[in-house]
């Protein structure tokens, strides 16, 4: 299969295979991305995050359907946790998106975290690029159910929707220093339940403390299951995007996340180069031994590793 040609000709199989290759770290996949990177930048990237069971998949499903009605195409990347013990995973987000499977304008991909701890999978960045090149107008990234510190989505998405539910009560206090800071839009799902008003009020109260004055995240009450409030949520996403464009923050946000991405790739390459160097020289093992014997300290060892790096022209 010619994957690049397939990707550019709306062949879902090719796009799917390319994502797998990225997940498995196959070099050839990076070459294809390099050749097609100039085609990225079209899609609007929206992160959907929130605690487990808040309704992220259902919200994603309903947003995708609303956008499809407007004739827009939608890519969805749904991340679920990988077992740290077996490497296996149950990826179950499609259960809530069954009707979207056969829609030609929708592409859904489930991914396991495979050891990444920030709420995304390691290949999520790559998968977004694939779906962007594939021509999707919107890309939703559904994170794993988050607790307090899984904030990587903020580096990938233009707009982050934090899906909350009533009844978490004081948990809002507990998490406000972590994930609550990254929401550009707050959705209080399952708003037919007791306490929805209070949850919304607590979020609003938290937002009162925000320093950023030119944008205040909207708080939207929602019953995603019954498709109630989804239009308001979509409007809030669009408002945030309009704000990003008008204020110039879209560019600065992108610049920040791209810088981080380049550094991340650089780090990975360094680690890989160390592994390659080690195959020939055993430098790392010798330095480690010296540290173990307390002849040198870890900082000196790292500096020497760096030196042998440049000497070997890696």
């Amino acid at each position: 299969m010619d994957i690049k040609a397939g990707l550019l000709n709306n062949n879902k199989r090719a796009a799917a295979r390319l994502i797998t290759m990225l997940e498995n770290g196959i070099e050839e996949a990076l070459d294809i991305i390099k050749e097609c990177y100039h085609l990225t930048g079209h899609a609007r990237i929206v992160g959907i995050t929130g605690p487990p069971g808040a309704g992220k998949s259902t919200v994603t499903d309903k947003l995708a359907k609303a956008l499809r009605k407007e004739g827009l195409t939608v890519g969805i990347i749904a991340v679920d946790p990988t077992s740290p013990f077996t490497g296996g995973a149950i990826l179950g987000d499609r259960v809530r998106m069954s009707d979207l499977s056969t829609d030609p304008g929708v592409f859904i991909r489930s991914m396991g975290t495979r050891g990444a701890l920030g709420g995304l999978s390691k290949a999520a960045h790559g998968a977004v690029k694939v779906l962007d090149i594939f021509g999707m107008d919107y890309i939703f990234i559904e994170t794993v159910g988050v607790g307090q510190s899984e904030v990587d989505i903020v580096k990938l998405a233009d707009t982050v929707i934090m899906v909350m539910v009533p009844g978490l009560g004081d948990d809002i206090q507990a998490i406000k220093a972590g994930i609550m800071e990254i929401g550009d839009v707050f959705a209080v799902n399952k708003s037919d339940r007791d306490g929805a008003e209070r949850t919304a009020a607590e979020i609003e109260a938290m937002l009162d403390f925000n320093k950023q004055e030119d944008y205040r995240p909207s708080v939207v009450n929602l019953i995603a299951r019954d498709n109630v409030g989804v239009d308001k949520l979509l409007e809030a996403i669009e408002n945030h995007r309009a704000y990003l464009d008008a204020s110039g923050r879209y560019r600065s946000r992108k610049r920040d996340s791209l810088r981080t991405e380049v550094i991340e790739i650089f780090k990975e390459n360094v680690i890989r180069s160390v592994a390659r160097l080690e195959e020939d020289t055993n430098v790392l093992e010798e330095l480690t031994e010296s540290v173990l014997e307390r002849r040198i300290d870890p900082y000196t060892a790292a500096a020497r590793l760096m030196d042998s790096f440049t000497e070997n022209g890696v």
Partner: protein
């Protein structure tokens, strides 16, 4: 690094009994596979689209309603139409002994009836997926 095998576990047809499918899903997960679980009442079209978008190595289906003779071969046929016949198809559930030869003939690679140890299913998938 060994890449994880990706398996779509699906319940085609109208019966609402997914306990067996969930047990298999869990066993495959514990064997280090990535299981894409689709839930109940999936049409063959949905299953095939899912397998393609997820770049699955294998589709594992469970039926207890008796519609296996229609639905299992339909999935195989649709995969062929989408030029995705390299994806391994296996089935399970309450399947009468007499129906099995016909299903194998239709392109389902294996049928696992009740009582099959999950290790048998796991080994079969490991040994029969097309290496990419």
């Amino acid at each position: 690094m060994e890449r994880p095998i990706r398996v779509v576990v699906a319940k085609p047809g109208l019966d609402g009994h997914d306990r067996g499918a969930k047990v298999v899903a869990r066993a495959l997960r514990d064997a280090g596979m990535e299981v894409i679980y689709t839930g109940l009442r999936q049409t063959p079209e949905q299953i095939v689209e899912t397998a393609i978008q997820e770049d699955a190595d294998c589709v594992a289906m469970s039926i207890l309603s008796g519609a296996h003779n229609h639905l299992f071969p339909k999935v195989v046929q649709l995969l062929k139409e989408k030029e995705a016949e390299d994806i391994l198809v296996v089935g399970g559930g309450v399947i009468p002994e007499d129906d099995i030869p016909g299903l194998l003939e239709a392109g389902i690679s294996a049928i696992f009836t009740p009582g099959t140890p999950t290790t048998v299913t796991i080994d079969f998938i490991r040994e029969n997926i097309r290496k990419k």
